[in-house]
C-alpha cells in the first residue's frame, strides 16, 4: 500500500495541505518548521502550484494574503519568532477576511528560546497576538494522522469563515516520525470558499455578509473590482469611520466565529467515562497525558484525558461538561 507512510509530523502537515488543495505557499526558513517549506518547494510545482521563499517572515504572510485574493488556497509555516513577526499581517487577514492557514510549529521561548526543543507557549499569542478586537480559530494535533486531518480542517475552516486559521503544532510532533495513512480522495471533506453569484454589471458588495455570516468572494482578476483594506470599511470595502459601520464590522468579525463555535470545536477523549481526574492537554503533551493515564489506570487510579483539538474558540462548554463528574 503506497498510501502508508513513515514520516515526520511536518511532512504529515504537508500531505494534509496538499490533500486540502493548497496551491500557494510563501515562507521563510525557521526551525522547527522548515521541513514544511522544503517539502512544499518540491511538491507544489510538481502539481502546478507555486512556492516562494520570501525575504522575511512578514513578507511571507503578506504574500499568501495576496495570493488568496486571486482565488488560491494558501499557507505559510513558521515558529515562535516568525509567528511574532507575522502578527500585524495576521490582523490584516482577520480584518479584510482573507482565508489563509498559518502553521506554527512551536518551540521554546520567549525570544530565540530553544529552536530545536519543544514548547507550547504560543496559545495566547495565537489568540491575542495581533492588536485590536477580533476572533480567531486555532487548531492542534498530537499524532500524525491528526496532523493530517487537522491541516485539512484548517483549510476548510479558513475557506468557510474567511479567516486566518492557526495550526499550533509543536517541535516534538513536527519532528517525530510515525505512521501516516493518507486517506483516499473524497474520504475527508475538503471545502472551497463561496464565490459570488452576482453577475457582471450588478453592484457586488464584497463585505455584505449573508444571513449566516458568510461572505461570497470574487477573485482578483475576475469581473468585480473592489477595494480591500485594513481600515474599518463598509460593505463595498470603502474606508469608513461611521460608528454604525464600525460596530457592525467588529460584531461580524467576532460573531462569524463565536456563533459557529459548535461547528468549529473538535476534541478527543480517553477514559473519561469514570474518571475522577481529568488531564486537559493538546499536542505532544497530550501523548504524555494518555501514557500517564494508561499507566495509572493499571494501578487503579481513574484518570482520563481530554485533548483539545480546537484551542480557539476555547471549548469552555466541553471542558465544563467533561469535567462535571471528576473530583
Amino acid at each position: 500500500m503506497n498510501n502508508v507512510k513513515f514520516v515526520q509530523g511536518n511532512e504529515a502537515c504537508v500531505e494534509g495541505a496538499l490533500y486540502a488543495g493548497v496551491d500557494f505557499y510563501a515562507g521563510y526558513p525557521i526551525t522547527p518548521s522548515t521541513e514544511i517549506a522544503e517539502h512544499l518547494s518540491a511538491r507544489l510545482p510538481a502539481r502546478g502550484g507555486k512556492f516562494i521563499q520570501m525575504e522575511d517572515e512578514i513578507a511571507s504572510m503578506c504574500a499568501i494574503i495576496g495570493a488568496s485574493l486571486t482565488g488560491h488556497k494558501v499557507m505559510t509555516a513558521t515558529s515562535g519568532p516568525g509567528f511574532s513577526l507575522k502578527q500585524e499581517a495576521i490582523g490584516y487577514a482577520c480584518m479584510a477576511e482573507i482565508p489563509c492557514v498559518i502553521v506554527n510549529v512551536q518551540r521554546g521561548g520567549p525570544s530565540t528560546g530553544n529552536p530545536t526543543h519543544v514548547g507550547q507557549g504560543d496559545i495566547n499569542q495565537a489568540r491575542w497576538g495581533t492588536h485590536g478586537d477580533h476572533a480567531i480559530i486555532a487548531l492542534t494535533a498530537s499524532n500524525h494522522q491528526d496532523v493530517f486531518s487537522m491541516t485539512v480542517e484548517a483549510f476548510n475552516l479558513a475557506e468557510t469563515y474567511r479567516t486566518p486559521v492557526i495550526l499550533l503544532l509543536d517541535e516534538a510532533v513536527g519532528h517525530m516520525r510515525e505512521k501516516l495513512v493518507i486517506p483516499e480522495a473524497g474520504e475527508l471533506e475538503t471545502v472551497d470558499r463561496l464565490r459570488t453569484s452576482v453577475p457582471k454589471g450588478v453592484d457586488y458588495r464584497p463585505y455584505l455578509p449573508r444571513e449566516d455570516g458568510r461572505l461570497p468572494m470574487s477573485d482578483f482578476g475576475a469581473e468585480h473590482r473592489y477595494n480591500v483594506t485594513g481600515l474599518y470599511h463598509d460593505m463595498w470595502g470603502f474606508p469608513s469611520a461611521s460608528p454604525r459601520v464600525v460596530n457592525e464590522l467588529l460584531r461580524h468579525l467576532i460573531d462569524k466565529i463565536d456563533n459557529n463555535s459548535n461547528a468549529i470545536i473538535r476534541y478527543k477523549e480517553k477514559f473519561l467515562e469514570d474518571a475522577d481526574y481529568v488531564l486537559i492537554s493538546y499536542g505532544s503533551s497530550a501523548r504524555s497525558a494518555i501514557h500517564l493515564a494508561k499507566n495509572r489506570r493499571e494501578k487503579g487510579e481513574k484518570i482520563g484525558v481530554l485533548e483539545l483539538q480546537t484551542i480557539w474558540p476555547f471549548p469552555a462548554e466541553i471542558v465544563r461538561e467533561k469535567c462535571a463528574g471528576a473530583r
Partner: protein
C-alpha cells in the same frame, strides 16, 4: 474611455491637501493606463500606508490597500499566483524605503514583473511631517527640529544596485513625461521603478521655506534636468530625469514556469 472612467467617483473627495503632488501622480498614472489601452479588470493596484497609499482607493481597478511598507510583499503574492495580472504599486518614500526597504530590494532582486512608483515628497505626511530616508541632510521636520543629520538614499542608485531592470525618475512638474515613463515601466517585463518627486507644501514646503505648491513645482523645474542634456552635463549638481536603466533579464514568474515544468518531469525527486 476617459480618465474619469478609471476613477471610483464615490470615493471622492480625496483626502490629499490642496497643492499636494500626489493627485498629479494619479493623473499621470491613469493617462498611462488609458493610453496603453489596458482593461481595468487586468490591473491590481497594491499600496501600503500613508498619503500616497490612499491612491489605491480612488482607482477603479482591483485594489489592495495593505500595511505600512508591505505593498510589494502583497503584490508579489498576487503576481506570482496570477501572473497574467498587471501589478501597479505606488508607494510613499517612507513606505517604500524605510519600513518597506527590505521588500523593495528583494522585489528588485527577483525581477518580478511589478511596476513600483515611489511618490517621493521627502516627508511622512500623514503622521504630520517627520523626516524620511529620502529627506537628506539639513531638512527641518517635526522629528528634526535642529535639522536632519541623516543621509538619504538615492532611489535610482538603490533600485539599480538591487537589480531592478527598469529605473526612471521624473517630477510632478513634468506630468506628461511621467505618463511616458510609467507607460514604459508597465510595458517593461520585469521589476520597474519610477521615482516621482511630488511636492508636499503642507509639511515639507512650509517647514523648509520652499513656498507654496506652485513655487515647489517651479523648483522641480530648476533642480532637475533630462538625462543626456547639456544642462545636466554642465551642472552635475542637478537631479537627472529620464530612464536610467532599461535591460532584459529573466522575469521571476516566467522562470517559475520553468521550475514547474522541471518539477512535473520529476527532476527534483
Amino acid at each position: 474611455m476617459a480618465v474619469q472612467d478609471l476613477l471610483r467617483q464615490r470615493f471622492f473627495p480625496h483626502m490629499w491637501c490642496p497643492g499636494c503632488g500626489h493627485g498629479t501622480v494619479l493623473n499621470s498614472l491613469l493617462r498611462a493606463v488609458l493610453e496603453l489601452g489596458l482593461s481595468k479588470n487586468e490591473i491590481v493596484m497594491t499600496s501600503g500606508i500613508g498619503c500616497s497609499a490612499r491612491i489605491s482607493g480612488y482607482v477603479d481597478f482591483h485594489s489592495l490597500h495593505t500595511l505600512h511598507g508591505r505593498a510589494l510583499a502583497f503584490a508579489t503574492g498576487v503576481k506570482l499566483s496570477k501572473p497574467e495580472l498587471t501589478l501597479l504599486v505606488p508607494m510613499g518614500d517612507g513606505d517604500a524605503l524605510a519600513i518597506g526597504g527590505n521588500h523593495f530590494i528583494h522585489a528588485a532582486r527577483r525581477n518580478i514583473d511589478i511596476t513600483a512608483i515611489v511618490m517621493n515628497n521627502r516627508i511622512y505626511g500623514m503622521t504630520g511631517g517627520q523626516f524620511s530616508p529620502l529627506s537628506g541632510i539639513g531638512v527641518k521636520a517635526t522629528t528634526a527640529p535642529y535639522s536632519t543629520i541623516d543621509n538619504n538614499f538615492d532611489v535610482v542608485e538603490l533600485a539599480t544596485a538591487a537589480g531592478a531592470t527598469f529605473v526612471a525618475r521624473s517630477t510632478t512638474y513634468h506630468a506628461r513625461e511621467c505618463t511616458e515613463l510609467i507607460k514604459k515601466a508597465i510595458l517593461h517585463k520585469g521589476f520597474s521603478v519610477v521615482e516621482i518627486l511630488s511636492q508636499c507644501p503642507t509639511h515639507f514646503g512650509r517647514k523648509n521655506r520652499e513656498g507654496d505648491a506652485g513655487q515647489m513645482l517651479e523648483n522641480y523645474k530648476k533642480i532637475t534636468a533630462k538625462r543626456g542634456s547639456k544642462a545636466l552635463e554642465e551642472n552635475p549638481g542637478l537631479i537627472g530625469r529620464g530612464i536610467f536603466v532599461e535591460k532584459e533579464k529573466p522575469e521571476y514568474c516566467q522562470e517559475y514556469e520553468k521550475t514547474i515544468a522541471l518539477a512535473m518531469k520529476g527532476a527534483g525527486r
